[in-house]
Symmetry: C2
Subunit: 294 residues, 2 copies
């Protein structure tokens, strides 16, 4: 199979504007970029995402994946971002190789099976700020179960926190972004390894960009650790569960529904990770506490 054609069209992540502080001084201040990115699949417009634009190809792929519009990356031939038109064109192998749009494949082909149905659900359940994946996904939560087993220790947790502290570059400079990280869990030696770190103006974008990268690289989530600076709402937990990631860490808190879904799917959810502190909320069977030097 031919490789996927991929542009690499990252936008500059910050611009600097003048602000006036409380002393009346002019302060040049870096602020995070925000750009519309309209996603097309075989020329059909699907959505406009507002993004930092640092990983637009991965974002578009991950969005398609986490919305479950396409079940496999094998269906995709090209992902082409064009900031002149603020758009990303995703071309299916069907269109490229056979000249047949993915939308025109018979309903009985594996590729397009349920495509229209998923699109319909997407549009009616899409929310402002949340909810894009909510619709029929909640019905499928029962089918999602992450494998058990002790796969994270407090030593690893602290090592993860140390690593991500060093990584939050755009946030440190300009604020107004959330960061997500994917780490390989190789406790105790040599410790967790940062595979991917993405920041975006929306925490959902950051997790989608990681999902797209995992899809491209063929990386399985099962033995990985996911970290986010943002809150663990239902949508964040559902997306991670879909990606097969069993260990979620957040510097922030969680919501009742995030908690409930983590419990139901068997995810180990650790929130309020700050300094040496943390709160283990669910999935204790997967966590080993050695008790850290203080």
């Amino acid at each position: 199979m031919k490789p996927i054609e991929l542009t690499r069209q990252a936008r500059p992540v910050t611009t600097t504007v003048d602000a006036i502080n409380e002393r009346g001084e002019i302060v040049p201040t870096p602020i995070a970029g925000e750009h519309p990115l309209t996603v097309y699949l075989d020329k059909r417009e699907l959505v406009t995402l507002m993004t930092l634009g640092d990983a637009p190809e991965h974002l578009a792929l991950g969005w398609l994946r986490n919305q479950r519009i396409l079940g496999s990356i094998d269906a995709i031939a090209a992902v082409q971002v064009d900031w002149e038109t603020d758009s990303v064109a995703i071309t299916s192998r069907s269109l490229r190789d056979r000249g047949v749009s993915i939308w025109d494949l018979g309903a009985d082909t594996p590729l397009s099976q349920g495509l229209d149905e998923r699109m319909r659900h997407r549009t009616v359940t899409t929310g402002c700020g949340q909810g894009t994946v909510f619709g029929d996904l909640m019905d499928d939560i029962d089918a999602l179960r992450l494998p058990a087993g002790p796969i994270i220790t407090d030593t690893t947790l602290m090592a993860v926190m140390d690593q991500v502290r060093k990584m939050e570059s755009i946030y440190k400079v300009a604020g107004a972004v959330h960061g997500c990280a994917l780490l390989a869990n190789t406790d105790p030696d040599p410790g967790p390894r940062m595979l991917r770190f993405v920041e975006d103006v929306g925490r959902h974008n950051a997790v989608d960009a990681i999902a797209g990268w995992m899809w491209l690289e063929g990386i399985d989530g099962t033995d990985k650790i996911f970290y986010t600076t943002g809150r663990l709402t239902s949508e964040m937990v559902i997306k991670c569960a879909q990606m097969g990631i069993a260990v979620l860490l957040s510097r922030s808190g969680l919501t009742g529904m995030g908690h409930a879904i983590a419990q139901k799917t068997g995810i180990t959810l650790i929130g309020r990770c700050q300094g040496r502190h943390y709160l283990l909320f669910t999935g204790a069977q997967r966590f080993v506490r050695h008790g850290l030097e203080r």
Copy 2:
């Protein structure tokens, strides 16, 4: 005209779950609620919002307003939240008084003019985490201009910050929520007056809930101050501009597009409001700095 029938179905804002801290101790921890709320307008399903559920009636109204699905609250007869079905049914006066659904009114009636068109735009431009109002709204930014004039002083700004600091109750208890406040700007005496404070798991929900409340109460935004704990992204600034609010304060930062829209519409945008510090980004013509005692 008959008043609007309104339920008052707030959900409990927090629940308490057990967590295990770094010392292995069990810590009962309050977490914020998160509930799906599906919005129906004359029985047609529009969207599912994920919300704290503290002001669901106002949220649904404000969502309809800020999505510009309805241009006037006069079209609405009832807003009925039912948590048994996680839904809110909005009934038009047309349906209640004449038995004709708003969706079946002729395209030439003022009420339904452009309704389908707006719905179509909404669905294709709805994004994950952002973008619901983006579509044709950006085209209308040129038409939005907030009136000028010096309407906020640094003394008022500090008084606002003092007031909101005392108000962030759910955040203080459970985190994982954003707060938005609307204040009357009556500088210098008796100082700003808190009109409304709303917290929600999404900052877009919080601003929508304030928009819905303003609609219900007939409150104009022109002479008001809007405060949010969240970032000022494009969508937040657009919503405030639509509500006619010329002064936006945030404890957090802003994005490039938030900045650009504030500049274009003439909004006074002040970010990084923390303690005695702030950064005035746009709309300096509306800001008077007395220079504060330090």
